[in-house]
Symmetry: C2
Subunit: 138 residues, 2 copies
DNA sequence: ATGATTGCAAAAGGTTTGCATGGCA
DNA sequence: TGCCATGCAAACCTTTTGCAATCAT
């Protein structure tokens, strides 16, 4: 039972048709340990499915996001980038020199965010925290 | 001495030419207490400068951002929105139902962010924190 | 079978750019 | 005057969409 199989089953259960193109994309997404954009995902999935069109990639990504199977990130001005939804929430640091993405999380910050919103009568639907960073010299 | 005058002077000092279109835009930006996008700024500035072109607005906004006079925000999927740079840093909550933008800041969170980055050898160049929120019922 | 999904090509939306003209310092 | 900034139109990049053909269930 691979990770892609898990995802596939969950989708089938949700009534989503698993076409060959969606299966190919799911395999790529399940196997990715970075944060590729739609074009990159299309490039990777095309290895197994040369006829796969970019519009199908976009449509599928939207569907998978709606199903909560993947997450979409919109970093500073660049195209949307995707990763599979994990159980653990995390945020991102982006190395402004290299583009490298580092995942991190802070329960303390999340708690403070929740409190700040609550103070003015709001609850958080979702949030976005990105730290654009540079390696310290020395 | 209006706010726009202040901005104008700072720019002149930095060697930026103040054309009529830039002056018109600066007046609009200085007078805005919301977070308008480029098209909206063009609309407002056009009242005083009907010949102002949208490309000039975009070029000017980029220049002003480079000068640190304004800040660009890229909220969830929508066009970039701008506000004048203030002395005090702040972040944003966006009401997902109304689109209303609420400014807030938390020194404690900023401190935690700095610490988290430092722990892995990074320093923060800039950051972005957006809370997408909904009014609590009751 | 039949309704969802695909590929293609075209369109949309936001933003940038080449070029000749015009205007600030 | 010299060079920067402008307006226009066209290009760009990412993403979406209309349509007829195809496929999963």
């Amino acid at each position: 039972m691979t990770k892609a199989d898990d995802l596939t089953q969950a989708l089938r259960d949700a009534g989503v048709r698993i076409t060959r193109q969606r299966a190919a994309l799911l395999t790529v997404i399940a196997g990715a340990d970075d944060h590729p954009d739609a074009v990159e995902l299309h490039r990777r999935a095309s290895k197994d499915m040369p006829s796969l069109s970019l519009s199908t990639v976009y449509r599928t990504l939207t569907a998978l996001e709606d199903q909560g199977v993947i997450q979409r990130h919109q970093f500073d001005g660049t195209p949307s980038r995707f990763e599979k939804a994990e159980d653990d929430h995390h945020d991102h640091m982006i190395d402004v020199d290299t583009g490298e993405v580092i995942e991190f999380c802070s329960d303390r910050i999340e708690q403070l965010q929740t409190e700040l919103a609550a103070e003015i009568g709001y609850e958080i639907v979702h949030h976005r925290m990105e730290l654009y960073v540079r390696k310290k010299d020395g």
